[in-house]
Amino acid sequence: MIRRSHTAVVERNVRWSGTFATEPYEAAWASEAAFFIRTLKPGTLRAEAAARVQISPDGMRWADEGTAVPLLAEPGVTFGRVSRFGGWLRLAGELGPGDALTVIVYLVLKE
C-alpha cells in the first residue's frame, strides 16, 4: 500500500517581522512531517534566526517541540523534520528589530 502524503502551503508570500507564528495545522493522520521555509525575495536579517516547531493538544496552547528551522535573508530553502508530534503543528519565532523576511512555508506530511 502506498503511503498517503500531502503538501500544505501554510503561508504564502507573507512578510514576517517581529513575533510570528503560522496558523495551526491539524495533521494527526501523519506520522512524519517536514516544514520547508523558502525566502522569496531578499530580506533583512542582522543575526542568525530560526523558526521553532511547536505542538499542541488543542490548537490553542503551544509547546516547543525542539526542532528549529533556520531562516535565510536571501532567497533559498531551509527545512526541519519532526515525528511523533500528536495532532497539531505550527512554526513560531521572533525576528530582531528592523528585520523582515518574505516567505512561503510548506508543511509536507506523510503517513
Binding site: 498517503r4 500531502h6 500544505a8 502551503v9 501554510v10 504564502r12 508570500n13 507573507v14 496558523e23 495551526p24 495545522y25 491539524e26 495533521a27 494527526a28 493522520w29 522569496l40 493538544p57 488543542d58 490548537g59 490553542m60 496552547r61 495532532g87 497539531w88
Partner: protein, 324 residues
C-alpha cells in the same frame, strides 16, 4: 462596518432542463433498480440521494480526494494577485479535537475535511476540486457538514462564524452555441454579520468586476466571494442545530441541484427545508479562455470576528443524470 449593496431585481423563472439530444443510453429501469439497491445497502451512501451516476463520492477518511487550497490568478509575481485572494486558508484533515472533550471524529470514521480561517473578521478558507464535464445535463452535489468557531473562550461564540458556502465554477464547452457563458452558482449560509446573528441562506448573481492581472492580457481575475451583492434566498431563514456550547457539533445535510444545459438551479435543500430553486440564480458572464467544460465545486468559510471559523465536511457526493 462595510456598506452592503442589495439587489432587489426579480429572478427570472427557471426553465425546465432541456432533454439531452445527444444523451448516451439511459440506464434501464432494471439498472436503476440495481443501483438503488446497491446504494441503499451501503450505509455511507444510503444517507445520500444521488442522481443516476455518481461522479465522485469523497469520504475524507480516505484522504483529501483532490480538495485543495484555492488561489487567485497571478502573472510574473505573487504580488500581482488581487489582495482578497492572497491569504485564502487551505484545507486539512481533522479529528475535530476539542480542548474539553477530545476528538469529535467524523460522522463515520475518524477524519473530516476542515477549513479554518485566521482569527480575523472577513478571513476566508476555501477548498476546491477541479473537474470537467462530459455531458451538459443535470448534476447534483450533496454534503454532510458541520461548522463552529474555534472554542477560544468559555462562551457560546455563536457569532464567530460569519458564513459558509457551497458553489460551482462552470463554463460551456468550446463548441456550444453562443452565448457561451461562464456560470457560477453560489449559495451561502449567513450565520452572523458584525456580531449579529443572521441565520439565513443567500445566493449571489452579481458579478464582481473582472480585472487584468499582470499585463500580458492573458490573465484576469475577479473576487466572486466579495461581501457585496448577496441576496436572500426566498423564505431562506433557517435555524440550524448550533448546540449549547462551542465544543458540541451536529452534522447537517445540504443538496444542490444544477442543470448544465440551461445553467439554472434545479434543487436546494438543507436538512428539513426544501427551498424553491426558481428563487435563486447564479452569476453569469461571457465565457473566458482556457475554461471549456469546467466543473469546479468549492466550499468556504468566513470569520466574523477575531475567532477562527471552522467548516468540517464528512463526505461529498457529486452525481449526474446519465453521463457527465
Amino acid at each position: 462596518m462595510r456598506k452592503r449593496r442589495t439587489l432587489p431585481r426579480p429572478v427570472r423563472p427557471v426553465r425546465a432542463p432541456a432533454p439531452p439530444a445527444d444523451r448516451l443510453a439511459a440506464d434501464s429501469p432494471a439498472t436503476l433498480s440495481l443501483k438503488a439497491a446497491v446504494a441503499s445497502s451501503d450505509p455511507r451512501l444510503s444517507r445520500f440521494s444521488p442522481l443516476s451516476r455518481i461522479l465522485f463520492f469523497d469520504d475524507f477518511d480516505d484522504g483529501f480526494n483532490g480538495w485543495g487550497g484555492h488561489i487567485g490568478n497571478y502573472e510574473g509575481s505573487l504580488d500581482t494577485m488581487l489582495p482578497a485572494y492572497r491569504d485564502l486558508r487551505p484545507p486539512m484533515l481533522s479529528t475535530i479535537p476539542m480542548w474539553d472533550t477530545g476528538s469529535v471524529g467524523a460522522l463515520d470514521g475518524t477524519y473530516a475535511l476542515k477549513l479554518a480561517t485566521r482569527p480575523a473578521a472577513g478571513s476566508l478558507a476555501v477548498a476546491i476540486k477541479r473537474l470537467t464535464w462530459r455531458y451538459a445535463g443535470p448534476i447534483q452535489i450533496e454534503f454532510i457538514f458541520t461548522f463552529k468557531p474555534e472554542a477560544s473562550a468559555l462562551e457560546l461564540l455563536e457569532t464567530g462564524v460569519r458564513a459558509f458556502g457551497f458553489a460551482f465554477d462552470l463554463q460551456a464547452g468550446d463548441r456550444d452555441p453562443a452565448p457561451r457563458e461562464r456560470v457560477m452558482p453560489h449559495l451561502r449560509y449567513l450565520n452572523a454579520l458584525d456580531g449579529r446573528r443572521m441565520e439565513k441562506w443567500q445566493f449571489k448573481r452579481a458579478v464582481e468586476p473582472l480585472r487584468d492581472v499582470g499585463g500580458s492580457g492573458k490573465t484576469r481575475s475577479h473576487f466572486h466571494l466579495a461581501p457585496s451583492g448577496w441576496e436572500d434566498v426566498p423564505d431562506g431563514g433557517q435555524q440550524l442545530c448550533y448546540n449549547e456550547i462551542a465544543t458540541k457539533h451536529n452534522w447537517y445535510y445540504v443538496k444542490i441541484g444544477f442543470d448544465l444545459a440551461s445553467m439554472v438551479f434545479t434543487a436546494f435543500r438543507c436538512n428539513d427545508r426544501e427551498f424553491d430553486p426558481a428563487g435563486i440564480a447564479p452569476m453569469r458572464f461571457p465565457a473566458m479562455p482556457n475554461l471549456s467544460c469546467m466543473l469546479n465545486p468549492f466550499v468556504w468559510v468566513e470569520a466574523d470576528g477575531d475567532t477562527r471559523a471552522f467548516l468540517y465536511i464528512d463526505s461529498i457526493v457529486l452525481s449526474a443524470d446519465v453521463d457527465a
